[in-house]
């Protein structure tokens, strides 16, 4: 990865629904660039024979039996909802969805 531009940050902020001012965008671009640069040093140590590692602990196949467990009641499920109606979460109209 090369450098992080202000536009990159603006794009990510839009995707992540984070409202950022021009100043914040500029500052974040600089800070992220430093982080990316630091992480880059890892690639210098790891050779081509080392695959990208997302899970450093050698653990696999942690499965659950297909047995029904506890659930929330309808009231509990809606407890933290800003708004609800008819036993369901109520959300503002979505205009650009599918």
């Amino acid at each position: 990865m090369a450098e992080i531009t202000r536009d990159d940050v603006a794009h990510l902020a839009r995707l992540a629904h984070i409202d950022m001012t021009d100043d914040e965008l500029a500052r974040m671009a600089g800070e992220l660039a430093v982080i990316v640069e630091s992480i880059k040093t890892v690639s210098e140590v790891a050779g081509d024979d080392v695959p990208a590692t997302s899970h450093p602990i050698p653990l696999s196949n942690v499965f659950r039996e297909d047995v029904v467990g506890e659930t929330l009641s309808n009231e509990e499920a809606l407890l933290n909802a800003p708004d609800n109606a008819d036993g369901r979460f109520k959300v503002p109209a979505i205009l650009d969805g599918e």
């Binding site: 990510l12 995707l15 696999s60 196949n61 499965f63 029904v68 036993g87 979460f89």
Partner: protein, 504 residues
């Protein structure tokens, strides 16, 4: 809905100039007892927001745990689609904001699906076999269900707010993605339908999904693009979302081909976008253009460890696979001796398994077909239900057939008996008893009825006496009418001829 009606060419015009290229993403909901990453029940039609756990709602601090049965179902689907099964695969987060996903990401798989590089041979109605290459089948979770309120007829446009039920959020989903399907030509719409039908049949046969399209257990996104004959590169595609019946898949592909052809003919490029299917008008309308919102920023799910398979596990699952539907059909048709047309009708009527069970229970294949394709299908059609639904069972056919073979009832009476059984009046034997439907085998009442019929039609009686034996049908008809169908027509005929002193 869009006020604009898109221009379309006729299908034949489109085919004269262009080759269609198809691609499908079919989502299959598994019928596991619990969800993909939580122990909440996977059930349809329950009270909203009751089949939910903190994991499904994406509450802070929760940790998902993979449903082992769902992984095995995914591997079985992969094997049934002739796929390679990944030795190691990961889950990934697909990030997007939409209220159907309370976590703001869908847990899915990205670079390394559990199954990849398979194929499925699709048999079209005339027996042509078309191979569809499968790119991948991956595990993910379903989203919640949104209901748009305040707008017209539940549509998103004009809605004032939406209500969300998360019972479906987290239901295990397998997404099956094809490679681009080239060379189907004018048969593309038919192939589209046959492909989705084959997927539905396979997952149902595997027992891993209820496969009810009307409930959304199997959902299809259909990609269509056109290119001029002879061109190698693909045209721009559109993706028609949520085409959720077999008929709709066929219609949607046909419509998009016709629409693309008109757009291309006018010299305008196709816009890469999603399209919405409208069953009422059998058209699509513009959905959402491809945009940077489709930048899902996939990354490996840190809360779930990889799934690692081995040969022993895969072979154990392979050994559990049932006979593939296409092979089963070939075997049954050969066993039963049905013609291609007869067998196709049986399959299309959805009674193949019923006939199989009936034959297994001891009825001949020919008799079983007569029942299921005749009286039972007719009643089902009248009631607008599946033939298996009016309550007819292989056991019932066995009993009815036994009553006919023993001479206790005849074909005509057997229909009344069937009506009685379906109306809940009891077993066939009980219905015969209660409705008094047994064939009249005592000659006394028959002779009485015969004399009456002969007296009513003296001219016919004379003809028969004069040697026109075929005229006997009119008298038999009179007797059957007089006995309300309860006579054995063969016996009646014998008795009439005896009565008139004519040789049969």
């Amino acid at each position: 809905m869009s006020a604009l009606t898109d221009e379309v060419l006729t299908f034949d015009e489109a085919m004269e100039k262009y080759d269609p290229v198809l691609g499908f993403e079919v989502h299959v909901e598994l019928n596991t007892r619990t969800k993909m990453f939580s122990a909440a029940p996977n059930a349809f039609g329950d009270i909203p927001n009751t089949n939910v756990s903190p994991v499904d709602l994406g509450l802070p601090g929760v940790l998902p745990v993979v449903n082992g049965t769902a992984v095995e179902s995914a591997i079985k689907i992969g094997l049934a689609l002739n796929c390679s099964i990944a030795e190691k695969c990961y889950f990934a987060r697909k990030n997007y904001f939409y209220p159907d996903t309370p976590k703001n990401f869908q847990t899915s798989q990205f670079e390394d699906p559990i199954a990849h590089d398979g194929y499925l041979d699709i048999e079209l109605a005339d027996g042509t076999v078309f191979r569809v290459e499968i790119e991948r089948a991956h595990m993910e979770e379903d989203a919640g269900k949104l209901t748009h309120m305040g707008g017209a007829a539940g549509r998103i446009q004009g809605a004032e707010f939406s209500l969300v039920d998360y019972n479906r959020a987290g239901v295990p989903l397998i997404e099956i993605v094809t490679k681009p399907i080239e060379g189907a030509g004018a048969r593309a719409p038919e192939l589209a339908k046959a492909y989705v039908a084959a997927i539905r049949e396979i997952v149902k046969n595997l027992g891993v999904s209820d496969a009810r399209m009307e409930r959304g257990n199997v959902r299809c996104d259909a990609n269509v693009s056109l290119r001029p004959h002879g061109r190698e590169t693909f045209g721009t595609r559109t993706e028609t979302k949520n085409v959720n019946s077999l008929r709709a898949v066929e219609h949607a592909v046909r419509y998009e081909i016709q629409r693309h052809a008109a757009v291309l003919d006018s010299g305008t490029p196709i816009l890469q976008e999603t399209r919405h299917w409208h069953e009422d008008t059998r058209t699509t309308t513009s959905g959402r253009p491809k945009s940077d919102a489709d930048d899902y920023r996939y990354f490996p799910e840190p809360d779930l460890v990889p799934v690692v398979t081995n040969d022993a596990w895969i072979e154990k699952l392979r050994a559990e696979l049932p006979e593939p539907p296409a092979e089963r059909r070939k075997r049954l048709q050969a066993d039963w001796g049905y013609s291609d047309a007869e067998f196709r009708d049986v399959v299309n009527a959805g009674v193949m398994s019923s006939i199989e069970d009936t034959v297994t229970a001891g009825v001949s294949a020919a008799v079983a077909r007569t029942w299921w394709m005749g009286e039972i299908s007719r009643r089902a059609k009248l009631a607008d239900v599946d033939p298996a639904e009016p309550g007819a069972s292989p056991a019932l056919i066995v009993e009815l057939n036994a009553l006919i073979e023993s001479g206790k009832i005849n074909d005509k009476l057997s229909r009344d008996v069937l009506d009685g059984v379906l109306a809940g009046e009891g077993t066939p034997a009980e219905v015969v008893e209660q409705r008094g439907l047994a064939v009249v085998s005592d000659d006394g009442p028959l002779l009485e009825a015969i004399d009456g019929a002969l007296a009513a039609q003296p001219d016919v009686a004379d003809k028969i006496r004069g040697g026109k034996v075929q005229a006997v049908g009119a008298i038999v008809g009179g007797v059957m009418k007089a006995t309300r169908g309860q006579a054995d027509a063969g016996r009646v005929r014998e008795l009439i001829l005896q009565r008139l002193g004519v040789e049969g």
